[in-house]
């Protein structure tokens, strides 16, 4: 149900065959279903992220695409060729792992040349290609170092160069940045994205880091429990999550659990929230959850004339550098709380501090309503 809108979007380039077609791929580990009927198209030159918490099946899907672990059923086509039962050595891809998987006893040069040497290319061409790649990943001059002498970020660049050396048709990245510290991760993120764009190589990256996915991917495939939850551009996924699961996983989100009291109106504690047409599918009496991002909580336009304005008390203020995260509660009700992100300017203008009172509004266009399944996050 939640998968359909995304699935439609992926087939927008009707007519031509996608670079990689994944059809009804299921993977069982004994009785455990790691992937269930996953169907997905990936286009040439695209950067796609598989995003989800650990155990959601994203790595399993990547390994099935690589042929490292075969799917239990389903088909995979690369450029129209059925590779479902083809061993990894006969597929066309390069891969980079979280652990770098660099050969510790070989120099940087030999690591990068590892796949070239086997192809009976003459020595000079190999050297030239290695130098070209070293240049590409910004490690010129490190040829004769061993991986142990490099930093984590540098090792991952070598791994990237090694994967690209044989000019594969597709690049697979398995949590490539997760082992690095925050600063290096951010820089490498840009570099890898630039590199991918300039080479135009079709790339699939597995990650559990939503920020990484949002900043790097052309399209994100959000996964949960072996299913595709949503497929879309980072903006689509962030702005219009199709389920509370996706809403919770991407970015910070307030979850307000309530009941439909009449068409278009949700009662959350003592708050009466007017919601858009997006809630038209719900009937009176349905349990629903109203979602709003902390940065969408409005203060400047919170006049009593507008809908969804509330008087709140400020319970706590968390200073986070460029902005503040403010915990609000409905006056007198400590169990009804709301998180809001306010700019420093706003904090100053409205004299927002712990214990003060504040009028806020929840803009209708920014609200999302999902059925409350009783699972998932509690606000």
């Amino acid at each position: 149900m939640a998968r359909k809108p995304g699935a439609k979007k992926s087939s927008k380039r009707a007519g031509e065959r996608a670079f990689l077609e994944i059809r009804d791929v299921t993977k069982m580990f004994g009785d455990f279903t790691a992937l269930e009927d996953v169907t997905l198209d990936i286009h040439e030159g695209e950067f796609v992220c598989f995003l989800g918490p650990s155990g959601c099946g994203k790595t399993t899907l990547l390994r099935a695409i690589a042929g490292l672990d075969f799917q239990t059923s389903g088909r995979i086509y690369q450029k129209g060729r059925d590779i479902s039962d083809v061993p990894p050595a006969d597929r066309d891809f390069g891969i980079v792992f979280q652990s770098y998987a660099l050969f510790p006893n070989l120099t940087v040069k030999s690591n990068i040349a590892y796949g070239l040497v086997n192809r009976k290319i003459d020595r000079k061409a190999v050297v030239a290609r290695v130098n070209e790649l070293l240049d590409l990943v910004g490690l010129t001059g490190s040829d004769d170092k061993y991986p142990a002498a490099l930093s984590g970020g540098q090792q991952q660049r070598v791994a990237l160069a090694r994967a690209l050396a044989t000019s594969p048709g597709m690049l697979l990245l398995d949590e490539p940045l997760s082992a690095l510290d925050a600063k290096v991760r951010e820089r490498l993120r840009h570099e890898m994205k630039d590199l991918q764009r300039s080479l135009g190589i079709t790339t699939i990256m597995v990650t559990h880091d939503q920020e990484e996915a949002l900043s790097m991917a052309d399209r994100i495939v959000v996964m949960g429990d072996g299913l595709i939850e949503q497929i879309g551009t980072p903006m689509e996924i962030y702005r219009n999550p199709v389920s509370a699961y996706v809403a919770n996983f991407i970015g910070a989100m307030n979850f307000l659990h309530g009941k439909m009291v009449r068409k278009g109106h949700v009662k959350v504690g003592r708050m009466d929230i007017a919601v858009d047409g997006s809630a038209s599918e719900f009937e009176k009496g349905d349990d629903v959850v109203v979602c709003i991002r902390p940065e969408d909580v409005a203060v400047r336009d919170a006049s009593p004339k507008r809908a969804n304005h509330y008087a709140m008390a400020i319970r706590d203020v968390e200073f986070l550098g460029s902005f503040c995260r403010v915990i609000l509660e409905v006056e007198g009700r400590s169990d009804e709380e709301l998180t809001a992100d306010f700019s420093i300017n706003l904090m100053r203008d409205f004299k927002i501090e712990r214990g003060a009172k504040l009028k806020i509004a929840l803009p209708r266009a920014r609200l999302q309503v999902f059925r409350d399944t009783g699972q998932g996050p509690q606000s």
């Binding site: 042929g67 039962d85 597929r91 891969i95 006893n105 090694r162 050396a165």
Partner: protein
């Protein structure tokens, strides 16, 4: 079953077939490798053991007689007495060796006493000698013409006392090493927490130290028990009239040529060995992840009383270990103990007392060398295929299980099983009977499990994605194995080779049934010389074995140092 189910199943089968057709040369090589090793283990271990089992229910002419042999065995008072004797010895030795080794290891790991490295090296001495050596030394010390016979106050060293003392010497390093490991893997933060709470030292010892090391202690106890119940050299030399299971097998087979009864005793001996093997496996499983990756290593702080006490204890223990070795060395140079105490090299002229004297030593060298080289190759490939292989999980599982069996089979039992299996002329493998080949094969199998597990541990530490990377770069697995895995594992490969070599030099139990005059080994010569009363020559040959083991160990140490220096650029810490 619905139509959809049927088609799904059909599809799955088609995929499996497609994959099988697609697996290519690499997988065939892997399949061939595993299959070859499994076949070898079946032929050289499983089938011989089956032959032993079969022999135990047959009479001398090969007719099936059910459990009659067992009935006969258990109705013989003398033979049943051996069971009690063996258990008594094993239990006492286990308790004594574990207590001594625990205190010694505690000194090495938890105190600030000096010369820890030296003490550790001294504790290894017994491994380098055949188990016959401590028994011979004890005879020189406490025997009828013993140096300090009076210490025993009239008790005879020939019997349980001698067996136990010699056994403690022989088992000590094995137990000590396990104890050191158990006491090293601890989290300093536990002690800091206890300290912060003002816990008394005794309580810390019993609530943190002992529970933290308990799996190691149990494991050490099991090893001590197994080694002492299955060892043959010690009771053979110093047992006197005190019969144990291990000597009974030898007497039944070599003395009385009663093979069926030998098989029965072998099976009886197999029971405690298998039992302790299962306990050890169980304990090892529980032991996993006792230490989190975040643990802080423990560094002892000086404590005068404790350090002095344990230092004194370690000195005493070192004196005991060096004393036993020194006694054998000294005795080998004495002209005619105790009447002519002048020094001589005459006892090293082995050819004067045994026609196969020196040649047996060269046989040993050859056998140990072949065992080390052939053994390490098989062990490495086997462990690689188990750990890194991707297809054929069932076959790999079978292989791994087979590889665990030798640990539970005492050497004597394995040797006996080989007689029954390979001596039958209708066996196509019978030509190897009585040759060097069977000695090498038997020794490799005998020491397979420890080598396999050591290699497996080393391979497990290598990134499991190397195979994936290699496949994605279209480099065959065997190429990456030779270019990456072998160089990384070189220190462990060398460790395993040394382990195989030293054990092949010193072992008596399995090969005692399998040698022929042309392939007699040095350790067997020690046994024979002692048997005919040439004790000084036996001591001398023991010393030659020790000297060889020491040489190999030193060479190994130098090789490691060279390797570390040469590879220092990438070998940041030795594996």
């Amino acid at each position: 079953m619905t139509a959809a189910d049927v088609s799904a199943v059909g599809h799955g089968a088609a995929s499996r077939w497609a994959r099988l057709r697609n697996i290519g040369t690499e997988s065939w090589i892997m399949l061939g490798g595993i299959a070859a090793i499994v076949v070898a283990l079946v032929a050289f271990m499983a089938l011989p053991l089956y032959a032993l089992l079969k022999k135990s229910v047959e009479d001398d002419k090969g007719n099936f007689i059910g459990l009659a042999n067992f009935q006969e065995y258990f109705s013989s008072v003398g033979l049943v007495q051996s069971i009690t004797n063996s258990l008594t010895i094993a239990l006492f030795t286990m308790v004594a060796a574990c207590m001594l080794a625990f205190v010694y290891a505690y000194g090495l790991t938890r105190t600030c006493m000096p010369f820890k490295r030296l003490f550790r090296a001294i504790a290894i001495i017994p491994i380098l000698a055949p188990s016959l050596l401590p028994a011979i030394s004890l005879i020189y010390l406490f025997g009828n013409q013993g140096l300090i016979k009076g210490v025993l106050m009239g008790e005879s060293i020939y019997g349980p006392i001698g067996i136990m003392i010699a056994m403690v010497f022989y088992i000590f390093p094995h137990v000590m090493m396990i104890m050191v490991t158990a006491l090293s893997t601890t989290d300093a933060r536990l002690y800091e927490a206890a300290d912060a709470l003002g816990t008394r030292p005794m309580r810390v010892f019993f609530t943190i130290t002992i529970p933290g090391a308990i799996y190691g202690i149990v494991s050490a106890a099991v090893v001590a028990f197994t080694l002492s119940i299955t060892d043959f050299g010690v009771p053979k030399v110093i047992g006197g009239q005190y019969n144990v299971l291990a000597t009974d097998i030898y007497k039944q087979v070599v003395g009385q040529q009663n093979f069926s009864m030998g098989a029965v005793v072998g099976l009886v001996l197999l029971i405690p060995a298998v039992f302790s093997f299962l306990i050890d496996r169980h304990v090892k499983k529980k032991q996993v992840a006792l230490l989190s990756a975040r643990a802080v290593p423990f560094h002892p702080k000086p404590h005068k009383l404790r350090d002095t006490a344990l230092f004194s204890f370690c000195i005493l223990m070192a004196v005991f270990l060096i004393g036993i070795l020194g006694m054998a060395a000294f005795a080998s140079f004495i002209t005619f103990w105790p009447y002519d105490m002048s020094l001589t090299l005459a006892h090293y002229d082995f050819d004067a007392v045994d026609p196969n004297g020196w040649s047996s030593f060269f046989n040993s060298l050859k056998m140990a060398g072949l065992t080390a080289v052939i053994g390490v190759i098989i062990v490495f490939f086997g462990a690689y295929l188990v750990e890194k292989g991707q297809n054929f999980p069932f076959l790999r599982g079978v292989f791994h299980m087979l590889a665990m069996v030798p640990m539970a089979v005492p050497g004597l039992v394995l040797g006996l099983a080989y007689i029954f299996f390979f001596s039958r002329p209708e066996n196509p493998l019978s030509p190897i009977y009585g040759t060097m080949v069977i000695l090498v094969v038997c020794t490799v199998v005998h020491f397979y499990t420890v080598s396999h597990l050591t290699m497996l541990t080393a391979l497990k530490q290598i990134d499991k994605e190397f195979e994936s990377v290699s496949a994605s770069l279209k480099v065959p697995f065997y190429r990456t194995m030779f270019r990456v895995h072998v160089p990384i594992c070189l220190p462990v490969i060398s460790d395993v080779m040394m382990y195989l070599f030293v054990n092949a030099m010193t072992t008596v139990s399995a090969v005692v049934f399998l040698y022929s005059p042309d392939t007699k080994l040095a350790a067997i010569t020690v046994l024979n010389l002692d048997d005919v009363g040439d004790t000084a020559e036996a001591a001398a040959m023991s010393m030659v074995i020790v000297a060889t083991s020491v040489t190999v160990r030193v060479a190994h140490g130098l090789l490691m140092r060279g390797l570390n220096a040469r590879h220092s650029a990438w070998r940041t810490r030795s594996v």
